[in-house]
Amino acid sequence: MLETTLCGVTLKNPVIAASGTFGFGAEYSEFFDVSRLGGICTKGLTLHPREGNPGLRVWETPAGMMNSVGLQNPGIPVFLERELPRMRTLGTAIIANVGGGDLEEYVEGVRLVSGADGVDIIELNISCPNVREGGMAFGIKCDVAASVVAAVRPVCAKPLMVKLSPNAEDITAMAVACERAGADAVSLVNTFKALAIDIHTRKAVFDNVTAGLSGPCIKPIALRMVWEVANAVHIPVVGIGGIATWQDALEFIMAGATAVQVGTATFVKPTAMLDIVDGLERYRADEHLTSLATVCNILGTVPKL
């Protein structure tokens, strides 16, 4: 059995669709039974609707892709009214990914979502690299991150998972700071800040110049960060970054992740997450494990450098 408990919420299995790669769950429902997933993270939500970034929004890189979607979303009120009721029928845990341009938007956003029935966990996105107005700044400095977490904590009645940026100055210290500020879990990583230049036009490919890198290329770095963070905090860690196979997912679990999120791999193969669930279950059975918790965080602690 792959059943996993994350912040008191029971997931059927530890495989969750990553924010921004699975819409609000409806699109991929046409392709497979999404109730077989451990959970779904919504596209990043903000209090006010946003149109996202202008210009080209995607660019391929070796074993990866860059995106500059920005936080395009209908705003939390519309989400709650139109999308959430539909999402609740999908038969899997719903994780609302909440972003913001400033502290107040975060607090108001979380307050609203927290009051809604049917959201199981709130994932606080302090790490979107594609929003000029602020998202990123929150994800870089420990104390800034901690201040957002501390500000939303009192208004958040739901389990609060903080999504960390690999662009943080010190992601381990940031995780610890978020834990102290009241986070119930951390998820990592969001996309890496990256650059692509069109040598013909002699300009950056993206209007925002930089964009967020995801996909298999980032996996080795993301895995290292998950391992370091898992060894520094006492709250659950959700591993994200380039997971494409059940073996990748298992590596994250062995590095200390309680659950994983899969993003880019779904674009490559819509049913990638089901393959991961099936592969993990096969592994568990073959290895005669009662649960994957047995192999979670088995590398041991981070050696002192």
């Binding site: 921004g20 790669t21 699975f22 819409g23 699109e27 991929y28 046409e30 392709f31 596209k43 149109e51 996202g52 202008p54 080209l56 929004r57 995607v58 660019w59 391929e60 070796p62 074993a63 990866g64 892709m65 995106n67 979607v69 395009q72 996909g215 298999p216 880019t264 779904t266 674009f267 490559v268 193969k269 819509p270 049913t271």
Partner: protein, 250 residues
């Protein structure tokens, strides 16, 4: 026509690969997943690189085959062109909303630029041939136009190098005033021009847009295009849009 429901299928067999001209190929695969005119598939003919599948329109559909007409542009389409009979592809689709065929009444112009002709054959087969004029522009040697003539349609050609038909752009031989309905597909600047001409002439126009895609199904928002109704997803809200709604950039 009922919209077929999309699926992801791997190991779809290649029935034929025809090299039409220069860098243009027609690939036919064995699948019953079908598609309506203007819909597309995310196509993959490789294992790891490039990472993402490529959107390719349905060129022609039968009960148990789908054909694609495509031009080699970069690595993905080049790998497509290496496919041989008996090889396999992975397909996700059919995707998107195609042409609004119910609106296509009266005198119809199909205006295409380059490989923008790809989705039009499938569409043309649903139209009364006598009502349709195909105005197709190419850089040089035209391709895939005989099939429209075969249907009994009036085909006019413009080529940039003048090697066939009128020298120049297809928009130069297109008079929007004489049509009741226009459909177009081609490079964005060309479609912007067509949309502009149609707007001036008051002719309704449906345009099939291009965008770089990742998911192809509406989940990731990387393929957005600006419309008067806000950002739309080319893959899921389109690829066919009312040209008057699209905000055509310079």
């Amino acid at each position: 026509m009922t919209v077929p429901s999309p699926a992801h299928v791997e190991g779809v067999t290649v029935l034929s690969q025809e090299h039409l001209t220069d860098d243009v190929y027609r690939l036919t695969v064995a699948t019953t997943t079908g598609g309506t005119p203007g819909q597309f598939y995310m196509v993959r003919a490789w294992e790891r690189e490039p990472l993402l599948a490529r959107p390719i329109s349905v060129h022609s559909v039968d009960e148990d085959t789908v054909s694609f007409l495509y031009q080699v542009r970069g690595r993905g389409t080049e790998l497509l062109s290496h496919l041989q009979q008996g090889g396999t592809v992975a397909l996700t689709g059919p995707l998107g909303h195609g042409f609004h065929t119910e609106e296509l009444r009266g005198r119809i112009a199909i205006v295409t630029g380059g490989i923008g002709i790809a989705p039009m054959f499938c569409l043309a087969r649903t139209l009364p041939p006598g009502d349709v004029t195909v105005i197709a522009g190419f850089k040089s040697t035209p391709y895939a136009v005989a099939q429209f003539t075969d249907l009994g349609m009036d085909v006019r050609i413009a080529t940039e190098d003048g090697c066939d038909g009128t020298r120049g752009f297809c928009t130069e031989i297109f008079d929007p005033h004489i049509y009741d309905m226009v459909v177009t597909c081609g490079p964005m600047p060309m479609m912007a021009r067509v949309a502009h001409l149609c707007a001036e002439a008051g002719a309704p126009c449906q345009a099939s847009l291009e965008a770089h895609m990742a998911c192809g199904v509406g989940a990731c928002l990387v393929c957005s295009c600006a419309t008067v109704l806000g950002n739309k997803r080319v893959c899921a809200d389109g690829p066919v849009f009312d040209a008057a709604e699209v905000i055509w950039h310079a």
